[in-house]
Symmetry: C2
Subunit: 309 residues, 2 copies
């Protein structure tokens, strides 16, 4: 089934305690579409500048990503520079140069307007809303957001939230958006803002899915070497929606499986810098980790376990 | 099967953002034995002072806890005073009065020496070792510890660790003990110190079990109202070992189920102050939550989920 992502394609400069890379391929739409492409064909809408290396275009094409919505504008490509501390939980942004991204207004090629599954990457909520205007009868529209929009564009964000089916956020964003520390209460508050489904990503602590009244909790994939968390959230969403689009249905059992797919794709991403791990990733490795997550989480029924005193 | 716990019985004064209680029933052995008593009979070894209220003795007796190892000494009962902030993740200790606990040397009544399952509560590692000296041929000896012993009595702690089968610690303690931030690496380092099994408790983020080469991850029970986290770790261990002792076996599937029992018992404890929630807890409620944890965590096989590009 058709999966569309609208977001950023960027050149990232990242520093972690384990190394440093300058101007490597990054951006929410890049990570998302690469991860999703392991499950389903993806359509990408984004903007790059004149300086965007052709080899990155070739890479995405080789992954089967439809780039007919990737426009090249006069000027430089969006650049982000960040640093992670030893705990690897949150990046400190050192520099952001929006460049051509500053005047980005997403326009869907006609062939993309019938996309059934849609991911609105982390851009201005008004632009996310403009994408919703352009899709005809999607089965599922999901979005990402961040603290910057929660504080700075709250009204616009609330408006967009009312128009989508699903939200991906991390712990801190969920708490901030809901104004509530307890994560279960925060989730319920967010579900009352519009989206019927919510994924809360908690880094090394795993993730939670709220789907109507259902809650599903999943630990993170156990990793001994976490190298660079950049793109983990976008590849989670990419694995999730890639799996959903491939299944062609959004019933609750499928969404649980999609959480597993998201967890596994994020686990690969963080093992190397940028998209490096995904470049060499094989289907076999993905399927192995999907099976490992089951061994990590399942247990036998306890039945009636108590005694009478 | 016989389950023995050695630890503290205390009077706690606790302050949380939701209320304040003075001199309520507390202590690691109290929380542990109460939780375990829902699964199996428990034997308790601890010390209290002359001022320890008889009604607390009556409560433990009513829970079927064998108190023939509870000694009453001249002086006052151990007192702990703590405060939790809004995030409810760690208590700030405001005051500790060891009182009769200062000269506590655990002595097992002869009938307790054949106990098959043993929990060494959070006391000086040398005293934990003295308990190991006194049990004849236990099937499983588990222990708890804390930052105070990890820094102040590291050599003694390492010695005790070599003599036990299992350790319960929280995230921060695991990292501190191993001198390693990555939690999987930290777990492996701890398993090389002696215990073949390790439970890492992560509060609202759930828990991890390491059993030889097996890893099992479990989210926390989803709660909208967390009132007082005091005793959560001890009731986790009590539910865990109570379940194991009831099953009478320590194979890997049983330990996974025990994680569920521990998670559920801890989830009740934190809903009210002190042991209040456990006082009114019914077997039916426990069994309901055991079933809920399965619904929270299980998913259908994904099979071969990837596509060929």
């Amino acid at each position: 089934m058709s999966l569309l992502v609208v977001g950023s394609v960027a050149l990232d400069s990242v520093e972690t305690p384990f190394g440093k890379e300058d101007e490597v391929l990054g951006g929410s739409a890049t990570f998302f579409s690469t991860a999703a492409s392991f499950f389903t064909p993806v359509r990408l809408v984004a903007v790059v500048g004149e300086d965007f290396p052709e080899r990155h275009i070739d890479f995405l094409k080789a992954r089967g990503v439809d780039l007919s919505g990737l426009v090249r504008r006069e000027g430089k490509t969006f650049r982000w520079k960040g640093r992670y501390g030893f705990e690897l939980n949150e990046a400190k942004t050192l520099d952001t140069q929006l460049n051509v991204f500053q005047h980005f207004v997403p326009e869907l090629p006609p062939a993309f307007q019938s996309s059934e599954y849609v991911m609105l990457g982390n851009i201005h909520p008004d632009l996310q809303s403009k994408v919703v205007d352009q899709v005809q009868s999607p089965k599922l529209v999901a979005m990402d957001t961040m603290n910057f929009w929660i504080t700075g564009e709250n009204a616009a964000l609330r408006k967009t939230l009312r128009r989508v089916d699903m939200l991906f956020v991390n712990d801190a964003e969920a708490r901030q958006l809901a104004g509530e520390h307890n994560i279960i209460k925060a989730a319920r508050a967010i579900l009352s803002m519009g989206p019927k489904r919510l994924v809360i990503k908690r880094g090394e602590y795993g993730s939670l899915l709220f789907d109507g009244d259902h809650i599903f909790g999943l630990p993170a994939f156990p990793l001994t070497d976490v190298f660079d968390p950049t793109g983990a959230g976008d590849t989670f969403a990419g694995g999730f929606l890639g799996y959903v689009a491939r299944a062609g249905k959004i019933d609750h059992p499928t969404l649980r499986q999609a959480m597993v797919a998201g967890t596994v794709m994020a686990s690969f991403t963080v093992e190397k810098f940028s998209l490096e791990r995904l470049r060499t990733l094989e289907n076999r490795e993905i399927n192995e980790r999907l099976a490992t997550v089951k061994r990590l989480t399942h247990f036998e029924d306890l039945g009636d376990a108590t005694r009478i005193v």
